[in-house]
């Protein structure tokens, strides 16, 4: 990625950022460093920058947007699908013209005044990032092996030193006192603290961290996940396979099918956009269970399942921002007293078995379906016919090759003559 210089505007949320080496206005063949389109947060301070910090989970250098007032933002790249290539056409902003270009934007307007086309239709969106995630690499043990040892209490500066070693930009950012105070606050929320004289010493506390993560995940799940994620991670996972074959054992059939309709109605209810509040969804599903089920459903609480699944999806997304050395301890802590995933696991296992069954049934029903058998029959018959024809031709050939006397011998009346094999026993075939 080209090195870019951010020029946040005070009012507009959409802002064009030009790289330093902007192509001249005359039609260039194609700029080596084209403009990129960013969507930046509103009302950021003048000192906001794009900085390079090491990614909390992967430790690779990654761009973040930093505003001393609002904190860190991470960039999400939204690209057009490769199958349908697109470009941006940037028209000169009218408002700018009306207001007169601001001092910092002079350069930009000069280049985009006549319009600008970027080849790649990428859009970078800055979304807020909790400082906590940037801090975790410093707080986390360096490797899983050391996890068992007691971690030392360290001062805030010591922790930050380890961070700045990897991300030199951070050092400059830390000069702003507001940021340091915010860091201290976030660190407190996940650490055990001891007072050492006038300084506070921090050490990562796993229960606190898990609680913080869980709280975050709960918030993510509370209003439902974004529609596309909901579809991918929740609906499809809870999709009950359609069992289309009539089954013989009606006793099992009733309960299973009712259950199937339960969860189906459930998932459809869940799939409705997030403006539906969670409570209404729940009531709907309970209604559905009460009306459709003949016998009590096999699974205990289907209405809790989607929420649990959402929670787990949220947590797994959060884990992608957390150093891998911490994953094991976090996963281990996510058990019964804090959050109980067992009903979800049971339900998913049940669904898996149902899916397997339906797959098996489908393959069976495919085999016995009329069309298939007809096809097979036709194939087989054609094969048999071909075989017969081949044999007939062969026989004819043989017959022609037969000598006249052999043919005459065939006409001999052999009635009353026993076959020689009835007189002489067949010799066991000797291997030559």
């Amino acid at each position: 990625m080209a090195r870019t210089r951010s020029k946040p505007a005070a009012k507009v949320s959409k802002e064009i950022i030009t790289p330093e080496t902007t192509a001249p206005a005359t039609l260039p063949p194609s700029a080596a460093n084209p403009l990129r389109l960013f969507v930046l947060p509103k009302d950021t301070s003048r000192d906001a920058r794009i900085v390079t910090l090491s990614h909390p989970a992967t430790a690779t250098p990654t761009r973040y947007y930093f505003c001393p007032e609002k904190g860190f933002y991470e960039f999400t790249k939204i690209a057009a699908p490769r199958s349908s290539p697109r470009s941006w056409l940037l028209a000169p902003p009218r408002s700018h013209k009306a207001d007169g270009p601001s001092k910092s934007a002079v350069e930009d307007t000069a280049s985009v005044d006549k319009g600008y086309i970027t080849k790649s239709a990428d859009l970078f969106i800055a979304t807020p990032l909790d400082i906590l995630f940037l801090l975790l690499p410093a707080l986390a043990p360096k490797s899983t092996a050391k996890e068992h040892q007691k971690q030392l209490f360290l001062s805030l500066d010591d922790h930050l030193d380890t961070l700045t070693a990897n991300s030199p930009h951070l050092k400059h950012l830390l000069r702003t006192p507001k940021l340091k105070a915010r860091i201290a606050k976030r660190m407190q929320s996940v650490s055990d603290i001891v007072d050492a004289g006038d300084e506070k010493m921090y050490r990562l506390s796993s229960p606190k961290l898990v609680a913080a993560l869980l709280q975050r995940a709960e918030r993510m799940a509370a209003n439902g996940l974004p529609a596309s994620m909901e579809e991918k991670f929740v609906c499809s996972a809870l999709d009950v396979p359609v069992l289309d074959l009539p089954r013989e054992d009606s006793g099992v059939n009733v309960s299973e099918s009712s259950e199937a309709t339960d969860s189906q109605s459930q998932t459809t209810a869940v799939a409705t956009p997030t403006e539906d509040s969670q409570t209404t969804v729940k009531s709907e599903t309970t209604d559905a269970t009460s009306t459709t089920s003949v016998s009590p459903p096999v699974i205990a609480a289907p209405e809790g399942i989607p929420h649990l699944l959402r929670l787990r999806t949220a947590l797994s997304l959060l884990l992608s921002l957390i150093p891998p050395t911490l994953h094991a301890s976090i996963n281990a802590a996510l058990v019964a007293p804090i959050v109980d995933f067992t009903p979800l696991n049971a339900h998913l296992a049940h669904l898996a078995s149902l899916r397997q069954k339906s797959a098996a049934l489908r393959s069976v029903s495919d085999n016995i379906s009329r069309k298939r058998t007809l096809d097979e029959d036709a194939d087989e018959q054609a094969e048999i016919r071909a075989e017969k024809r081949r044999k007939k031709e062969e026989d004819e050939k043989k017959k022609k090759a037969e000598s006249r006397s052999l043919k005459q011998l065939k006409k001999v009346d052999t009635s009353g003559m026993k076959k020689l094999s009835s007189f002489f026993a067949a010799k066991p075939a000797v291997k030559k």
Partner: protein, 259 residues
């Protein structure tokens, strides 16, 4: 590796000639004791068994047991190219695709060589026990051939009755009936004209003449033919060859259906 040299191609020509009207394809089983053949006709009522002992060849070499599946019509075609007096050499590899025949003319230095493609023949082999027959008749092969041909004009089947009196070949057809009776007879000057009847009990059996006429094609192989009969047992027609080699035919009797 098989290499078998026959002093006279005649022998093989005649053997194949005698068999080819009974069997279409058959295996020539070669081992160190010689070349053997066993095959049944299409109706499985007649069986031909040939044994050409290794002593009949000079030299004879067979390292491994080989089955040469040969179409007799093809073999006849090739053998037609050989003169009766030619020296015939049979050759085959251990796992052969072809059998190689070389004919060497005794008089001139003419050498002709033929390859016959072999075929895989799935044949059932019958174990034929040594049997004590109730009646054994030796007679000139030409005489037997003549009887069969004559009676064939009247009927399809012949009854062979063997008693103390002699052996009676009788038949009954649409135009009438006929019979030929032979008695034991010894010709001192021409021993091949002898008729010997060795009888332990009287025998009367009926056989298909068509088949017997077919067997008689081997008459040129040997001056004498031996008929062995027992009640309810296939007839054995044997043409003895030199060096204990033989050509034998078995024919199932007609039972019940007297016509």
């Amino acid at each position: 590796m098989l290499e078998a040299r026959l002093e006279q191609a005649n022998l093989l020509k005649k053997v194949v000639d005698a068999i080819k009207d009974l069997v279409q394809d058959c295996n020539f089983d070669c081992n160190d004791s010689g070349i053997a053949l066993q095959a049944m006709d299409n109706s499985h009522v007649a069986l031909v068994s040939m044994m050409l002992k290794s002593e009949s060849f000079s030299p004879f070499r067979c390292d491994r047991n080989i089955a040469l599946g040969i179409n007799l019509t093809s073999l006849t075609k090739v053998l037609r190219a050989a003169q009766n007096e030619d020296i015939l050499t049979l050759k085959a590899e251990d796992a052969p695709d072809v059998v190689n025949l070389v004919f060497e003319s005794a008089e001139s230095d003419r050498i002709s060589e033929y390859d016959i493609k072999l075929m895989d023949i799935d044949q059932e082999h019958l174990g034929i026990p040594e049997t004590e027959y109730a009646a054994t008749i030796s007679m000139p092969s030409a005489e037997f051939q003549r009887i069969c041909r004559d009676l064939m004009a009247l009927s399809e089947s012949v009854s062979i009755e063997c008693s103390k009196e002699g052996v009676k070949f009788a038949c009954q057809g649409d135009i009438g009936s006929g019979s030929v009776t032979l008695r034991s007879h010894t010709n001192v000057d021409k021993p091949e004209m002898n008729v010997e009847i060795d009888l332990t009990e009287p025998v009367s059996l009926t056989f298909s003449l068509k088949y017997l006429v077919g067997f008689c094609k081997a008459s040129s192989l040997s001056g004498q033919v031996k008929l062995c009969l027992s009640n309810e047992v296939p007839l054995l027609v044997e043409y003895a060859l030199a060096n204990n080699s033989y050509l034998r035919f078995y024919l199932a009797p007609k039972i019940g259906d007297e016509e």
